[in-house]
């Protein structure tokens, strides 16, 4: 049972955007997937209600990168409960730790395998994020 209705992907890479969208429609066709090209756009979009149930955040983006956006969102009262999943190419342990520290709910690296991505997505959408404590 998919709980999320709307998700937001924040990523500047158009190929990754497309890839992600394909995976989403494969896993949960009814799921609404919005795209923002960087952290700044993401904030603008979130401001338009309704807010997303889940945010997938890339790290390396122009204008406002993933960390900045993450931190900003965590500080905002109305959005601090939205789970943010860091979704990036880097599998640097430093980045992982940093993300966790800044309040990301999850961290996973972009796989090159479509099937893997779908499995991961599926699992994530099933998760009960209320268990998570990702407040700063």
């Amino acid at each position: 049972m998919k709980k999320a209705k709307r998700i937001l992907l924040v990523d500047d890479d158009v190929d990754d955007q497309m890839y992600f969208r394909d995976a989403v429609s494969e896993v949960s066709p009814s799921l609404q997937c919005e795209i923002a090209n960087n952290g700044s756009e993401a904030l603008q979009q979130i401001a338009v209600p309704p807010p997303p149930d889940l945010i997938f955040m890339d790290l390396n983006m122009p204008v406002m990168n993933g960390y900045e956006c993450l931190v900003t969102l965590r500080k905002m009262e109305q959005y601090k409960d939205i789970p943010i999943i860091i979704f990036t190419t880097s599998n640097n342990s430093h980045d992982i730790a940093q993300a966790k520290r800044l309040g990301a709910a999850l961290y996973f690296t972009k796989p090159a395998d479509f099937k893997m991505l779908c499995n991961k997505l599926d699992r994530i959408l099933d998760l009960d994020f209320s268990r998570f404590n990702f407040v700063l």
């Binding site: 190929d15 890839y19 394909d22 190419t89 880097s90 342990s93 972009k110 090159a112 395998d113 479509f114 099937k115 893997m116």
Partner: protein, 738 residues
Amino acid sequence: MTIRPTGAAFQHLAFIGLILLLMGLSFISYRRIIRLNSDIELVNHTNLVKEKLEKALSYIKDAETGQRGFLLTRDSSFFAPYVGAKENAVKLIEQVEILTDDNKPQQQNARNLRVLALKRFDILALSLALADSHSPATAGNLAEGKKTMDLIRNLVAQMQQVENDLLKQREQASRDSFAITPVYLLAFSVLAIMMLAFAYSKVRDETLLRYSAEDSRAKIEELETRSRLAIDAAELGTFDWDLKKQEFNSSQRVLRIFGFNGHPSTRHQDLLDRFHPDDRGVRNKAVEDSFAKGTLAYEARIIWPDASVHWVSVFGKILHSETGEPQRMYGIVMDITRQKTILAELTESETRFRLLADSMPQLIWTSDASGNMVYFNRAVFEYAGLDHKKINNDRWFNIVHPDDKEENLQKWAQAIQSGVEFIFEHRLLNRNGEYRWQLSRALPQRDEEGKIQGWVGTSTDIHEQKNSMSALEKLVRDRTRSLEEANFNLEKTIGELKVSNAELESFNYVASHDLQEPLRKIIAFTGRILDKDGASFSELTRDYFNRVMAAAVRMRRLIDAFLSYSRTTNTNAVFEPTDLNAIVREVRIELQESPDQKPFRIICGKLPVVQAIPFQMHQLFDNLIENAIKYSRPGIDPEINISAEKVSGSEVHGANPELTYWKISVADNGIGFDQQYAEKIFELFQRLHGKSTFEGTGIGLAICKKVMHNHKGFISATGTVGTGSVFNVYLPVGSPEA
């Protein structure tokens, strides 16, 4: 010859004189008082006489009056004055007679007066008697009576005059006495007081003297005690020789020193007999000289009854009489045998030293504690070609090379002051006018208390060595310099390398990362193509796409591995306690999650917690286990055994034999390898199999080796073709710092 009285005698005389004076004065005063008294008495006496005369006259007059009255009135009451008057008058006159015994004429007058008085009374009586008889004799009586009365009156007046004159005289005398006597008394008193004061002061002086005398006595007693103690402590014998009476007294100790066991009857001569025959003369001469000098001092040997020889030291002081003749000698005797023995030994020892020193080729010298030269051995003189005079004391530094002289003196002064061993190389001028290098050393000589008594030094000829040494030194110096230069260049190069390395690293990282991007997409979208339309492709097209995929995947793996490798050169990683069990677990989980993973089994024993870089440990086990799985035998599921034990460094090739290591073995049941390649497989990009048989990058084991290098450990492998391989990882126990 005038005899001068001494002070005391003079005092006595003065005292006696004063006493006599006092006595004289008191006698005179006494006499004067008596005189005064008698003068007063005399005055009174005269007044008394006068009084009595008057009274007597008065009585006679009374009698007359009485008679007259009676004759006139025949009243018997006129008898009364008459009756007693005669007796009284006569009595009075008799008294006057007695009183004027000191004035014979007056006394005669008084006698005459008595006679006259009696006559008068007789006449009066007759008159009275005749009164009754109415005889004519009465007129004649009266006339006689009157005549007598006139005579009486005249006589009394005369007597009174005499007495008055006497009175005047005596009164004057008494006045004089009154004047003078107090003066005498005053003089007497004053003198008495003076004498008293004088006596008092003398007594006080006496008392003070007595106190100070007692005080002095106490001090003397104390001094005596102290000197006695000192004499005892120093074990001195004392003697007291009366030169006049030729009496010799000595303390018991003197006798003991001379070897007598306290014989009471030991005589002076007995002591003298003990003197060594050869030293008797010394003693006698010393004694003779002492009479003139006033002091005695000598040392001589004495021989005890047991034939042992002892040395004594004698000191004495002579007390002369007032005439300058020696009267008494007081002295001390000391047994100095021990000192003499020690002195002899010392002299002998010194002689031996000199013999020794003179026989040595080195220059040997000694100085006192202040650094002044005291002794040079023969070699010094021979070397320098100088004699005593020229090289004595301060002139020794004249044979030092001028360039070395200043430092020489300075270092020597330093040594003297600090007490630290003196070492110095300098050039000394020899007899041929050549300067030769010497190594001079001196050590301080300390006494029992650690105080420096002097220095002993040697100078050894090092001329030859110095010359060859300097060649050596030059060589060393040059080498050192070039070494320093090389070092400097090395450091520079290292610096440059570091910079270059850092650049390379970041380049590596960025390149790898940025290279991954497009590659990932190639793989991802090619995959999508195959997913979406793969079924509708021809066999060939599908094959082509698969090859593209495979190539991309290979490239990806290569870049991943490369990235991984470049990361392990990062030396900034922090060592932390790392649980290897957890690492293995993580790796297992990751591999299990990997798609298309072969089934595998890991049997893991208890692994230790080590101080390591967790990420690199992860890389290590990841690579080893992946290899084990990859190089499994066909048809046989890979089984990996991981175990750990402690071993000594001596068992590890290239390890520090003193350290202990954890030996972690990763053993598999795969295809194994030929042992001759055991080293080669760890080299970068070296593979034993083509990529068609086993895909791989050839980086994995190189990464493992790098990781072990970072942890100051080792990795080795043993393989048996067809059976399996064992990879041994050695980690030092304890914390290997980066």
